[in-house]
């Protein structure tokens, strides 16, 4: 666990990996703490987080949101992000899980 890499890898339950900018991923307090080197958990060393309860489509939407948020973090009055209706319940749940 030398220097913290700028990118972390998020892995879905069905094996898809998403390499995400660390700062974007850290909008989730849960993810931020997983990666916190002070705590020294496995994730902070490897830079890889496995989400056993997120399937790829869900995780992808989440990652999209992360970037969408990152891109617009200083702006105000931004339009809401679009995502498929079919995911909405799962997203609500995931958001609760990740605290975003």
């Amino acid at each position: 666990m030398a220097e913290q890499a700028d990118y972390v890898t998020l892995v879905s339950s069905d094996g898809y990996s998403y390499v995400v900018q660390r700062s974007a991923a850290c909008i989730s307090p849960a993810i931020r703490r997983m990666l916190d080197p002070a705590n020294g958990f496995l994730e902070s060393k490897t830079g890889v987080i496995r989400f056993d309860n997120f399937h790829a489509i869900l995780l992808e939407t989440i990652v999209k949101y992360m970037y969408y948020n990152e891109k617009n973090k200083d702006a105000r009055d931004i339009a809401d992000m679009d995502f498929p209706d079919s995911l909405c319940l799962e997203l609500v749940w995931a958001a609760d899980y990740l605290d975003i």
């Binding site: 496995l42 309860n53 809401d80 995502f83 209706d85 799962e90 899980y97």
Partner: protein, 837 residues
Amino acid sequence: MMATMSRRGGAKIRPPRRGLQGADVDFDTTWPILEGAFKEIHTKNASALSFEELYRNAYKIVLKKKGEELYNKVARFEEQWLGSTVRTEIVRTLTPPLTLTDGAGRTLATSSERRTAGEKFLKSLKHAWEDYQVCMGMLTDVLMYMDRVYCTDHRQPSIFAKSMGLFRDQILRTPVQPASTTLLDVLTRIVLDQIQMDRDGEAIDQFLIKSNVYMLEGLYESDLEVEDEKLYLRFEKVFLDQSANFYRDEGERMLKESDAGSYCRHAKKRIDEENDRCRSTLSESTSAKIQAVVEGELIRHKMKGLIEMENSGVAFMVDNDKFHELSLVFDLEARVDPRKSELTRAMQRLVTEMGTDINNAALTTSEATPQREAAGDDEDGKPAEEGAKQKLPAKPLSQQTVAALKWVEEILRLKDRFDKICTTSFSSDQTVSSAINRSMADVVNTFSRGSEYISLFIDDNMKRGIRDKTEAEIDSTLEKAIMVLRYLSDKDLFETYYKKHLCKRLLLKKSVSIDVEKQMISRMKIELGNSFTLKLEAMFKDMTLSEELSNGFRAHIAGVMDGAHNNSKPVDLSIRVLTSMTWPLEAFRGASGEDRDENSLGGRDITLYPPEIERLKSGFERFYAQKYSGRKLTWYNNMGDADLRARFPRSTRIHDVNCSTYAMLILLLFNDLPAGESLSLEEIEARTNIPRGDLARNLQSLAVAPKTRFLVKEPMSRDINSGDRFKFNDDFKPSFIKIKVGVVSAGNKVENDRERKETEKKNNDSRGFVIEAAVVRIMKQRKQLPHAQLLTETITQLSHQFKPDVNMIKKRIEGLIEREYLERMEDAPVPSYKYLA
């Protein structure tokens, strides 16, 4: 935080998969996983654990509404962990040097043993705390979902706070052994012990203590974590108490053992030290409190003792000009008391003491001599004065004047001294310096002859002091006089004296420089106001007018002479016409020291003049009447002087003789007398009508004083008695061209007691009028006023002139009621007066 969904009609919403909701999780199987992980965390083996997995597990448990169960389990787990593992670890470090420190045990271990053992304990406690914090940080992160959902919903303290509380209960609050002290007490004692070592100069590990203080600051009395219930406060209280004791003892010891200067330095050092200690060892938040304690113990309670310390207290510092130490005292006092009352009091006391010394010294100087002078001065002690006159100018000052000069000088020196202390040591502090000034004023005002002495001081400087001085020096002299004057409250009394002295200076031409006189007046004008100098200025005006008048008269005579071809020699007359109200002419009568009442000098001039003088006199009277009709001139011969040109048988030259008018009249008598004949005292008196007192005095100068013995007296004795005969001294051989016959009533001397009483009485009378005027002014404006208010208003109105006596005001009000200016109001609730127009 999640972006809201955009709802598109008709799309099918996918239900979350079952597995995600964790419905299949069983608490009893999940908990052991977590528990195992927690153990790993506490033993620092977290790197193998997957946060996500633990998080997910905790999440699932909470989701299954088992949050409470989880919370309690975690708490119990932590409790056990702390109670067993951690505590034993710490208790183990309680080695004998520490456990023995109870009670008498203090002596059983040397301080270095205690220190090492203490450090070990502190270190282990610090480690335990820091580790625990880190671990609980991790745990909290893992259990984040529980905190967020369960604790918030059920109003439970977060698991972190809960576990901190557990740490407090399990580690700090649990007795080391059953029924013995808790670790917190031990900790407090050890920390205090270490601080004490630090105070005694032993090096301690400040950082170690600081870490432990951090811990105390991070812990609260209850799980509610109320901000002002930190455990640290408990420690702080003990710390402050202990410090108070320590400094009380130290302060007392220091007061006994060392001097005030080093005490101040030490106290200052201690305060700085404690300040540093708070920064480096304890908590910043304590710094103000401990400062207050040290200040309280070392300064506030000791200040009095410190200031009054014999041979080194403030008095000593002032005596020896220890400005630096005084400033230390000042700094210390300023810390505890913004008004610096102790120091102020001490300084005031010093000023008063030193001032009283000066006053007394002046009194003794003035009384040491008067035996000689008082005896002569009062009744007919001409010899003394004559003697003084003759030694002129070698010893021109009477002892009284010396006392007056000395007094003013000393007062100024005292003021300078304290001014210097104020500026150098007290950073010109307003309260202290004004208090000192107040005391100075008291000193000046308690000295009954203050006003007279100040006036004398100016008088002397005007006559002699400024003769060889540069302008700047004169300036500073005047400034000095004004400075003392500023303190004086009875300014009217001063005015009386000053007028008297100024009058003599002007008439007898004793003043060195009229310019300086005028400067002085203008200074007083600035300082005391217009009304004060009005009369003084009028005196100067009279002087200039008289000058013009004399010149005019001289021209007039010259004109008359030319026309009349009169061959009698012109006599030059230089006249001073003085407004009788402005000039304190009674001063001259008083100074002659005779009872002249039967001699009606007041109005008529009964002196007999030889014809040429008489002609001159009436000539001037006519001249004056032409210029100012309706004014009456009163001649004061006793104040005049005359220049004669005289030949003496034993000398070939013409001599200029300067003598008093009376002496001139006497000498002129002998001009016409055949050689060898003599006149008796009675004859002279009859032919000149000079009052007996003045006559005797002048005869004394003419017949007794060796350098001006124009006459020979029969019998030869010092005193002039009736029946004595006088004749021209044929053997008189003057050694100088210019001869000055001593003028007896010259010079401004301090008054004797009778005169002073008179002056005071006169002063009181005039004050009475001033008070009445003020009362009437006020009442005229207000129409009616309660008694008390009238009093205060009167006092404020008059305060720039003098400090009115309340009784005097009351008496004056009575007087005004009697004369029906005022009346008492019968129906008023408080005693009041009404103005009667």
